[in-house]
């Protein structure tokens, strides 16, 4: 083996390896291949994974993704039907269903993404402009919200803690965008799987106004709480005065009633005893008068008595002149 032979063998080996390498290729589970010959697609796309063979040098492989792909729109500001500027961010999922078509029309994913940007962006604008903001925010038409137990009926009437009513809802708007866009995208060999609103927010310039509204709404609730508190307190204070008067007057009523009954009973007992006969009446008057003297006549009383009185009738003589009625005069000195 001379030196030249050895070089030739090495060269043949090298070229052979190169030819072999350029005539086999692998296809992954996640992709499919379009075979192109001088840039022109030939044959059906290779969709099954594994080791494959092609014509070396003149055929090229162009991998195209088989998976579900995502499209993430950048947030963009747009007006709603009620002239509110909102920032909308949507995402979509899509899949390449006709790789040949896709390859011919778009060639690579970058241009596919930019077509999706155009189509979905404009369909979103259309749909948003046709609907009021609340239609994009809410989903379930007849959902009844939970209410704060602390809210009063009056607040409920003022629509605090209630949802804004809708006609369609988010799902239907999404479907409208989807239906309009899917049709336009199909020509690129792309199937749009679905589209969803990712973020919807008030535009930077609208936000202060929204915040002001929220603040005023909260303030009104706060004021209501305060005035409810004061009102309820006043009610309780009123109750206090009412109940107090009621209790006291009831007490008075009861007391007077009892006293009256007591006096009546006592009177009944007295009259039962004293009114038995005329003698009893007369005797009562006499004894009661006697009793009264004891308390009426005090130390500083000046008593002027005549000798005609029953007590002193014997001062002038042993025999009293006739039957003289006891005659007394008494009085306070002052």
């Amino acid at each position: 083996m001379n030196k030249i032979t050895r070089i030739v063998i090495l060269a043949v080996l090298g070229i052979g390896t190169y030819v072999l390498m350029s005539s086999v290729y692998t296809v992954s589970e996640v992709e499919q291949m379009i075979i192109t010959q001088f840039g022109k697609p030939v044959g059906a796309p290779v969709t099954s994974a594994g080791l494959k063979v092609k014509v070396p040098f003149i055929q090229d492989v162009n991998p195209i993704d088989k998976r579900v792909l995502e499209w993430d729109g950048s947030p963009s500001d747009m007006p709603t039907k009620d002239k509110l500027y909102i920032s909308v961010d949507i995402f979509a999922r899509w899949r390449i269903t006709d790789p040949l078509q896709y390859f011919l029309r778009l060639r690579d994913e970058r241009s596919a993404q930019s077509r999706l940007d155009d189509i979905l962006g404009s369909e979103t604008r259309n749909a948003v402009a046709k609907h009021e903001l609340i239609e994009i925010i809410r989903t379930t038409k007849d959902r009844v919200p939970l209410r704060d137990a602390l809210l009063t009926d009056a607040e409920r009437e003022q629509d605090i803690g209630s949802l804004v009513p809708i006609q369609k809802g988010r799902k239907l708007v999404e479907q409208e965008i989807f239906a309009a866009a899917a049709e336009k995208i199909r020509v690129f060999g792309i199937e749009l799987l679905d589209i969803r609103f990712k973020r919807i927010n008030y535009n930077e310039s609208v936000r202060p106004k929204i915040y002001d509204r929220m603040i005023s709404e909260r303030r009104q609730i706060a004021e209501r709480f305060l005035s409810e508190g004061n009102g309820e307190a006043a009610r309780i204070r009123g109750n206090r005065v009412r109940d107090l008067n009621k209790i006291q007057s009831e007490a008075y009523w009861k007391v007077e009633e009892i006293r009256g009954l007591a006096d009546a009973k006592a009177t009944e007992i007295y009259s039962g005893a004293y009114n038995k006969s005329p003698e009893a009446v007369e005797f009562y008057e006499f004894t009661r008068t006697m009793q009264a003297y004891k308390s009426i006549i005090a130390e500083n009383t000046t008593l002027i008595l005549s000798t005609g009185s029953d007590l002193f009738k014997f001062l002038k003589g042993m025999t009293p002149d006739g039957d003289v009625d006891p005659h007394k005069r008494s009085g306070d000195s002052r």
């Binding site: 704060d148 009892i258 008593l303």
Partner: protein
């Protein structure tokens, strides 16, 4: 390297393969040096031996891999799905014929929205700019108010094959799904529900909806939990929300104070009422008993009086006067006929004389 990187697709989510080593070149060079020492003669034969040895080393280097205990490896041969491999040390065909992608199926993974726990690394979390975090939280509620919502989604990779081959960016798609669903759920609720009373309901509804979507999208991901973290009104509005809370407290306070005043007075008044009634009752008993006593005394006396009225009457009269008289300081006894002195009497200067 896993096969995806070799053929133009974007890297798989867990794209780092098990094998390729950065130390490979060093090792190769070392081997070369050592071989040069062993075979000092050099020449083309030596070169061939060197090349064969290098190939063997490369083959050995790329033909084993280890799978951690919380993961499985998905092996692809020439890009085609071959098998799932359990944890442990495993061998495969070298030179990129087999590629193993390790997927942590048993690990509980989470995505945080609106905040990041340092170290709790989700692949996509670290990348997000700060501004993005606030934008994630901003939501519009069903009564057209704004709220800031932070939440966490806990998930696992339930089907590694689907996870790798069905959807290109499963974790990123999960983020989109999660944000979209959370806004859908919050958009159906009032700001009060979102901030205070409806939290649990939101969590469970978001979980159900996210699960439904992840099944529909066939991402190979199963969502275990959705947890709401901080939910706040936007910064400028927070104060007025606090005002409402304060007003609520103030209301309770005012009512309690009024109740306090009420309670201070009314039970006392009730007691006093009972007191007065009882006192009146006492008066009644006293009055009746006294009357009974008086009547009894009178009856007894009258019974005796009836037997000798004249004498008794006199006796009582005289006895009474005898009782009364001594206590009186001035007593004037006048004759019946001498009434004329009466006007001259100076009543004040009179001094009582005692019998």
């Amino acid at each position: 390297m896993s096969s995806q990187n070799g053929n133009g697709g974007r890297g798989g989510p867990w794209g780092s393969g098990a094998n390729s080593g950065p130390g490979f070149e060093d090792l190769f060079r070392q081997a070369q040096d050592r071989l040069k020492q062993i075979l000092p003669s050099g020449g083309p034969r030596g070169l061939i031996v060197l090349a064969v040895l290098a190939l063997a080393a490369l083959g050995a280097w790329t033909s084993y891999y280890t799978v951690p205990s919380d993961s499985v490896a998905v092996v692809q041969r020439f890009g085609q799905y071959n098998k799932d491999v359990p944890p442990g040390l495993h061998f495969k065909l070298p030179f990129g014929i087999d590629a193993a992608t390790i997927v942590p199926v048993k690990r509980q993974l989470k995505q945080e929205f609106g905040f990041t726990t340092p170290g709790a690394g989700d692949l996509y979390q670290g990348r997000r700019p700060r501004d993005e975090k606030t934008r994630e939280t901003q939501m519009v509620t069903g009564d057209l108010n704004a709220a800031l919502v932070e939440w966490v989604v806990q998930y696992r990779i339930s089907d590694p094959v689907k996870f790798l081959f069905e959807v290109r960016e499963p974790t990123e798609t999960l983020r989109y799904v999660s944000e979209s669903v959370m806004r859908e759920v919050v958009g159906d609720r009032t700001v009060d529900e979102v901030i205070t009373i409806g939290r649990q309901e939101i969590e469970s509804e978001a979980l159900t909806k996210m699960q439904a979507l992840s099944t529909k999208y066939a991402m190979g991901i199963s969502i275990d939990q959705v947890q709401l973290k901080n939910i706040n009104p936007p910064e400028p509005v927070q104060e007025s929300f606090n005002e409402v809370n304060q007003a609520q407290q103030e209301k309770e306070k005012l009512i309690n104070e009024a109740r306090r005043d009420y309670n201070k007075v009314i039970p006392l008044a009730e007691g006093e009422k009972d007191q007065r009634i009882r006192e009146a009752d006492g008066y009644r008993l006293k009055r009746i008993n006294e009357a009974e006593g008086d009547a009894a005394r009178f009856n007894a006396l009258f019974a005796e009086y009836s037997k000798a009225p004249e004498v008794t009457r006199r006796r009582i009269y005289i006895e009474t006067l005898q009782d009364v008289m001594p206590g009186i300081r001035s007593k004037i006894i006048v004759d019946e006929q001498t009434r004329s002195i009466l006007p001259l009497l100076n009543l004040d200067s009179q001094k009582g004389d005692r019998p």
